[in-house]
């Protein structure tokens, strides 16, 4: 079955593992809606009280999980919904982070919200620029064989790494950019000056972004993307300008990735060129694969797993954590190829609805 390189690499992972059970359009009761959303609401409430009960290093860990959850979800717009895998999503993450840092340190823009808007605009422009050549090599219906697109996006990321290393005055060169301060919200009475307060800011931004992306993937636009994933030729024959959908989804995914990058820049106070390259793309790939590309919250679960395991491994086996990570991914692909998210969803449905998905 798997004969082409792209199949070997991705074929098994890319198949949409579960389709959501058909939901009647006739409308759902408030109780049904509440039952669907209860876990998400419960998790948000839990997240709000969590920092009061855990030490600060756990707060930082959870903050990082949230940032990477947004990063993973942003990539999943492309991959899980559009069927467009990319090896260059970290380019947007790192670019967003650098843009944020440069705007503060060199641009003198301290306001968090102004900064965030500028980061979104700049990463969107980057996506608009890179998307044109990238989708020229993607072609039509390439979710079967996206190898050229993968290589092109990989090259973009590495290109940006080189740029960041050479533009020393702006980016600090290969040692990276440091001294990015805590964000200034510009709202009287609210200051963010510790990992404790930053936790809440990240929670707010990530929750808002996740809601926006959720609306996006369930909108008319989102279903067009799903259609392109399944059958791009048919979509064209139905009257959809599929190129425009792919191109804009690349820009949108990039912009959300950029927001995640900006949050990460504030979080560590540091950006290094490697944040735009292959190593960071590997991490987001793991997040999406481990968590399931086929369900919306998959990458959130994946981020918790990857960042959690990374932390544990770096504490107990500091020099071997990539090995642990590699072992984890092999085990997941062999045992639950659809990812942890699908497994949990099946479990959830079994427990609460008395039936398997």
């Amino acid at each position: 079955m798997a004969t082409r390189p792209a199949d070997l690499l991705l074929g098994r992972l890319m198949r949409r593992a579960v389709a959501a059970p058909p939901v009647p359009v006739e409308g759902r009761s408030a109780a049904a809606l509440l039952r669907t959303w209860a876990p998400a609401i419960a998790i948000i409430l839990l997240m709000l009280v969590l920092p009061s009960f855990v030490p600060s290093y756990i707060q930082s860990l959870v903050t990082k999980m949230m940032i990477f959850a947004l990063f993973g979800v942003s990539m999943n717009i492309l991959w899980g919904y559009g069927g467009i895998p990319t090896f260059g999503h970290a380019a947007f993450f790192g670019f967003g982070g650098y843009a944020c840092g440069i705007l503060i340190v060199h641009g003198g823009i301290s306001n968090f919200f102004v900064n965030l808007v500028l980061v979104v605009v700049l990463t969107a422009l980057l996506g608009a620029g890179l998307g044109i050549p990238a989708f020229r090599v993607y072609g039509v219906g390439a979710s079967d064989n996206p190898i050229y697109f993968l290589l092109a996006t990989l090259a973009f990321g590495e290109l940006l790494v080189r740029v960041a290393i050479s533009a020393r005055t702006l980016t600090g060169g290969s040692t990276g950019m440091s001294g990015i301060p805590w964000p200034d919200l510009g709202i009287p009475g609210i200051t963010v000056n510790s990992s404790y307060t930053y936790y809440f800011l990240v929670l707010a931004v990530v929750v808002v972004c996740l809601i926006l992306v959720y609306r996006l993937v369930n909108s008319h636009y989102g279903y067009a993307l799903r259609g392109i994933h399944d059958n791009e030729r048919r979509m064209q024959a139905l009257g959809y300008n599929t190129w425009l959908y792919k191109y804009t989804s690349y820009i949108i995914a990039g912009a959300f990735g950029g927001i995640a990058g900006a949050l990460f820049a504030y979080f560590g106070g540091v950006m290094v060129p490697g944040n735009m390259g292959m190593a960071m793309t590997d991490i987001v790939f793991l997040i999406v694969i481990l968590g399931s590309a086929s369900i919306y919250f998959g990458p959130v679960i994946g981020a918790v797993a990857v960042v959690g395991v990374e932390y544990l491994a770096s504490v107990y086996l500091p020099e071997r954590w990539p090995l642990i990570m590699a072992a984890l991914i092999v085990v997941v692909i062999m045992v639950i190829p659809q990812g942890i998210g699908v497994m949990l969803l099946d479990l959830w449905r079994k427990v609460f609805r008395g039936r398997a998905a």
């Binding site: 359009v25 909108s219 008319h220 636009y221 979509m235 064209q236 024959a237 959809y240 300008n241």
Partner: protein
């Protein structure tokens, strides 16, 4: 009868192979034109040229007086051309209903909406009900397309082509792989479309072609080898030679 589609000297080459050579014909409004020919005659290639999936090496395609030779596939659909596929081409991971919803959305306003909830779009839902009822699949709307029987998938295939409300419907082997009963059912459905929709149909199934088409074109080695009404085609010696095989036809081909 005004011409809906005019094809002038259309050709395409794949390297040294001329798959479609200098094809010229017109389809009038409301006409049902059948296209027959042996395997490899270039029927599907010609279809792909007319729908824009392939770029022609030469020639011109005019639809409703507008030159569409270089228009992309989706733009032709917006103008009123729809096609079905010989190899069933649906959204297998979605329900029948979602297939219909996606198909209908293709030519409607709001297909770039990023905020509304697609599955709660009432106007779209009503249209999907109409579409699925017309192909008798409304009862199965919640089923995954991949779990449908093949005959039902073929019906949905035709249904999706009708979703854009086309003026010109291009059917590529609509009865491909169906049982004679199912094939008869498809024949009836195409006839039931009436005069509002012009049909261009490729078929190997002669019962279907003679049951549906008013005029038939025979394509052989990428060229129109003859053209006429059903009766003329039935009586034509070239058709007999090509289909039954004769010394003359095979040497002419070789």
């Amino acid at each position: 009868m005004a011409a809906l589609l005019e094809v002038e000297g259309l050709s395409v080459h794949f390297g040294g192979l001329a798959a479609v050579k200098n094809v010229t014909f017109t389809i009038g409004e409301g006409e049902r034109l059948g296209m027959i020919g042996p395997n490899g005659a270039g029927k599907t290639t010609l279809f792909n040229l007319l729908t824009g999936q392939l770029k022609p090496s030469g020639g011109k395609v005019v639809f409703k007086g507008q030159d569409i030779t270089h228009k992309p596939v989706y733009a032709r659909t917006q103008l009123g051309i729809a096609r079905s596929f010989q190899i069933t081409s649906l959204f297998p991971n979605e329900s029948v209903l979602t297939n219909a919803l996606i198909a209908l959305q293709g030519t409607r306003a709001g297909r770039y909406r990023v905020w509304g909830v697609f599955k709660r779009d009432k106007a779209l839902y009503a249209a999907a009900q109409g579409l699925l009822e017309s192909i008798d699949l409304w009862e199965k709307r919640q089923e995954m397309v991949s779990s449908l029987a093949y005959g039902e998938q073929r019906k949905l295939e035709m249904g999706l082509s009708l979703a854009s409300g086309p003026e010109l419907l291009m059917l590529d082997e609509p009865s491909c792989g169906l049982t004679p009963t199912e094939s008869k059912d498809i024949t009836e459905r195409i006839r039931a479309l009436g005069k509002k929709i012009t049909v261009l149909m490729i078929a190997h199934d002669m019962d279907l072609v003679f049951g549906v088409a008013e005029r038939i074109i025979l394509l052989h080695f990428g060229e129109i080898s003859c053209e006429g009404t059903c009766d003329e085609i039935r009586a034509n010696q070239t058709v007999k030679d090509i289909y039954m095989g004769s010394h003359k036809a095979s040497t002419a081909a070789g």
